[in-house]
Amino acid sequence: MKYSLTSEKPAERRNFLKYAATAIVCGVVAGVGGYFGGAAAVPAGVETTVTKTIGGAGETVTATKTVTGPATTVTKTVGEEIPAPEGAPIKLGYQNDLTGMLDLFGRSQDVGFHSAVDYVNELGGIDGRPVEAITEDTEGKADIGMEKFRKMVLEDGCVAIMGSTSSGIVTASLPLAKEFKIPYLSVGAMSHRLTGGTPGREGFTDVGNRWHFRLVSQVATQVAGYKEYGFEHIGKKWSTMYWDYSWGQSHDYMWTEAADEYGGEIVSHIPIPLGTADFYPYAAKIPPEAEAVYPVLLGAASIGYLTSIHESGYDRELGFVICLLDGIEAETLAEIVEGCWTIEYYPRELEGCKATGMGPETDFYRERCRIDEHGFIQPEGWMATNSHTWPAWENVFMMKEAIENTGWKSAADNELIIKYLEDDLMLKRSKAYPLGDGWLRKEDHQGLFPHWISKLDSNGRVEVVEKLPVSKIAYPVPKGVDYSTQEL
């Protein structure tokens, strides 16, 4: 009788092969060095000390946590075969914005998502089972996003959903995650309301729930990291100009709070309705006393916005988070954005990654996602949304880790994943988590990772100036927010 991993075989032989494969994997994981790189792999049972500084209050907390070497750091000994995954696939859904206002983000993040799934399958899948990636297009609309969420869960059988970049779509879909008991992992939605919000402040209260997690940066961390640059180096009097929905409103609110902290002033708030085509009327509203403008827009609209502001004769400062230019080749806008400071959540330029200590893990990640040294996805040649794509990659590995460390077998066990993820999960820099050391906070399910302050040069290139450690971008858990106490 011929035996192979894919053909029919006696049950006892199949079980033996599974156990053998597991033993090999475990042995390799417990080993040191190998293909994954020694410093990046965390051996099982090693104690790691991580210091958390809670921003704002200035309190420093030293956390000592035993970090179990995650299954994601499976190392491969050269020449050793990893068994192909088999069995019923584990389906991961992506509620992605492939068309509409956020299409620049969606197409890039889809590359990250599928690249991660491909690599996981090369590693033997999750718990020996193949992973199937399912992407559905939200068209940038909340109703469509919700419809696709339902479809992926009820028809396709997805056991977890990666979320849209639109905070509006995620807000609308959060109740579905709770209803269907599906882990909902944000990829790019950044409204601070999704993980805690501002308790007691009407219009900015929490909309999150226990089923939602967000690795990626959000408004609170961005403002925490950027405000000093903004108010100390750029100007004191600002105008905010923002897409008038959850994400833009978050920025307007938090930048206003930051102004109070630094003795600055927001001299005008200029909301811009979603879908605006001509930004000139809004540019015309910038008051003469504003020293700087804080624009909060993204996608192709950013080009029109920056062009309009330039055409209106505005020649003072601009200070913005990278969302404004992520996915956009800024060379054609160099005249407008030269010298502007920004904050990135992953450096666009590989040079910036290397200069701030990122190692071969980031080379690997960029290679797998076909992101070149200047942030372009090849061979297509379009600019990746570099600051928003890495969560699409890391979320997949986070799910792998959670599933393999909890004995999860099916969606009926999803509560195990929730409990695992909210156990102050530490993510060590590795090929699975190339961004760097960080953690997923238990109370508000928010990830805290390094950020980068960068500046645009005369060619529109985004050059890293300084890496901000977690202590610089952390902020206190919103008062009264603790998702871990919610009923599952």
Partner: protein, 290 residues
Amino acid sequence: MVASAVIASGILNGVVWGLIIIVISLGMCLILGLMEIVNMAHGEFYMAGAVVSFYIVQWTGNWWLSLPIAFAVLAVMGLGWERGVLKHVEGDVIRTIIVTFGMSLIIMYTAHLNIVFGATSYRIPNPVPFNIVLPWFTYSGFRTVSGIIAVAILVALLLFLFKTKFGLWIRAGRTDKEMTSAMGIDIGKVSVATFMIGSAIAGIAGALVVSVAAVNTYMGMEALVYAFLVVIIGGLGSLKGTVIAGFIVAMVDSLGGILLTPLWAKVILLSILIAILVFRPKGIYGVWGE
């Protein structure tokens, strides 16, 4: 900007957008007046013109070249639709609405295909990279040039309609199609030419905005709404009414957006539309009012 500069820039922006809206609306008005076709696909011709212009700029780097090319391409496209589809439903307003709505969807979703244009929005770099600097405010050079070109198109169209024999035939056909035909004029050819002209000027209007508004496959819908507003407020079939209504609509939209909010500007516009429909259903100048 100071308040006076804000208002001045709003007026200027309103004038420029008004001219572009008038160019789009005149095409629709001509088609409606002569052929009695309510062209629900008119906005998509505008979108198609913007797409053509975008590609010409991508390939040649020359926005100026894209203007006559967009004109020509949309004229041919108009010819194709008129001969292939519309000639079978001309004269039946309800059927033309349904058929042209179908045309609109076909054009939009064809453009949506990645091999045609795709679902992503694009802008071209400003082809007129200078600003008009006045003592108290600055205005975009590109918008100024677009406005001047729109004026030139309007003047050319009016000269064509009022100073040429073919233009006379078009106006005669709009007044009385049967009598015009009885005078030996091939009204069929006149209708075809009218549809081609209407489509072509909608296309060139699209080319005029490629650096102002994002080029995407949904931009036609918004243009159609404005075109209908103008045509109804100005008076169905009235060229003079279309011109005046175009400026009214653009000014309200522009100044309302700056002084109030864009949402309130739309509310005011629609209120004007309702008032016109209630108190003066024929529009400012009514049918055939010149």
